[in-house]
Amino acid sequence: MSEQIDDLIKSHYAAGFVTDIESDTLPAGLSEDVIRFISAKKNEPEWMLEWRLKAYHAWLEMVEPHWAHVSYPDIDFNAMSYFSAPKRDEDRPQSLDEVDPKLRETYDKLGIPLHEQEMLAGVAVDAVFDSVSVGTTFRKKLYEAGVIFCSISEALQDYPELVRQHLGTVVPQKDNYYAALNSAVFSDGSFVYIPKGVKCPMELSTYFRINEAKTGQFERTLIVADEGSEVSYLEGCTAPMRDENQLHAAVVELVALDNAKIKYSTVQNWYPGDEEGKGGIYNFVTKRGLAHTNAHISWTQVETGSAITMKYPSCILKGDNSIGEFYSVALSSNFQQADTGTKMIHLGKNTRSTIISKGIAAGHGSNTYRGLVRMNPGATGARNYTRCDSLLIGDQCGAHTFPYIESKNPTAIIEHEASTSTVSDEQLFLCLQRGISEEKAVSMIVNGFCKEVFRELPMEFAVEAGKLLEVSLEGAVG
């Protein structure tokens, strides 16, 4: 059985291909000039440049963090390029028809054609290809509802004050090493604003791709849900095969004002590296939401890709009665390493948080859950429930759990449950003996393990998550 598992682990990454689009790429290296170039290229207001430079100078003083349960060679930040945009970016397509056919072909290969999504799912797509948005749909319908959904570069042109008011309020420039780097050089990303009392009429979705060799990808996403509003945001990505490691250091900030609700779902399928652990994406992302009174922030993530993942989508439950949720499936196979989890910071009274984490390790994968639940002195009557389950497939992988619990309020209630299980030969043989192939059996067992998290995903995404997991299992499990 272990031989078959090995075979399956070694099958190739299905989404590995490269689209050849001429890029306007900056030479490798990082300096003040580079930041000025990026800012000028985007025609940014002066305050934005100052903001970036402040972040850059802070970053220069900071040291790379090494506390995570992952190991990788040192990153040479001067060996990568910090800007890459498809040519003619001042002449960007206004509708999908104008999108480069090659780009559309790329999406078709991934099985996520934009036109199909528009028709079937009614999803507005802000497609990010490398660093600049090239296709935005349903803008009009959203505009009628008063919803702003555009690239952050456009937002800086059209709604500079709105961006200025919220940018960096959840993840400050100096928050951490990678957030500081992102703040200095971020290329593009999405901006969403939902006005007071508006329920966003459709799911908002962005597909990310990294397509330029040696180019770091620094996305910046800012979602502001004004009082009493509601939005569901979907993020998904996949990357072409690469030999060299690519750094991805995104920042996502969510602001949920009083009584607002933000649901942020991610399906992440970046190139995880080959069977020897060579190549693959480094995914060092800072994601955080700030919940005001009665606000509700929910993170759902399905992480199947990347060589190394360090990612802790968090909630600051500042307002009374605010709710934070984190549902996660993280799969590490081959030589993938994932150190992921969440932080729930309870500041307000009667704040509630739920953490459901499902870690799957296969091959030589290492899967770590790291989570912090903090009850501050003001968090009277606050509650947290945490469950961390690990599933091990094969005998070369590892699962680790590092829960940090800090309670400074005696009325707060914190629950933590954890379990570790394996996919056993007996289970696989029962399936085989009933005529079910090994691949299908593992997929069924793993899907069963992840059911609680998949349930949290929006319908059309849940299907894709199942598909992605299956593809990853082909190249990941046995």
Partner: protein, 251 residues
Amino acid sequence: MLSIKNLHATVEGEEILRGINLEIGAGEVHAIMGPNGSGKSTLGHVLTGREGYQVTAGEVTFMGQDLLALAPEERALAGLLLAFQYPVEIPGVSNMEFLKTAVDGMRKYRNLEALDSVSFMKLAREVCKRVDLDQNFLKRGVNEGFSGGEKKRNELMQMMLLEPHLAILDETDSGLDIDALQVVATGINSMRDGKRSFVLITHYQRLLNFIEPDHVHVLGGGVSSVPVTSHWHWNWKIKATAGWKVRPCNE
């Protein structure tokens, strides 16, 4: 249906089966008895292709096919089912999903139209009733938290849904009280249609009070097995006790 000739098999280098010969015709029920360690369960595992069992000599033909050349799942699809002695739990995978996946695969293999969810649900509920299991067991994880008897009845349910040509029941009677035993035996008897064959691996004669076998074989005395024919005096003893018609397989 099944023809075993001079089958030798080892587990971790130790020879457990030493020249088994067995002919099973369509519609026949064969009981295989014998003490612990005589290789009864090993025979079931070798026939179904369980990893860790090496066939060192011999031939097995199942419905005209070289059984030993087939992968475990191909043997299952060809119509060979093993009801496990210790059915394993698969938490998180609902029984219904498991059964539907298995039945879908089997129907596809047999070129039968796929069952839609509603028809399958109806069928599964009927089968549940036949093995005296509450319908809630369909929603629960595969064997998750089932009692010993419930697990055995779940095996029977899988057999009823998959309709194998040959079912090997590995100590399906062990750990059952008399009522459960009767349910299982009635279930098995209801599957006897003159074409389907059964191998009952059992420790105890009591199962055979409910299911009348056409043939009884005894494997081994002591730790290792010897060809069944040399032990037919056991059969005689059984015959004397229970009054069955007994025929060693390779007279």
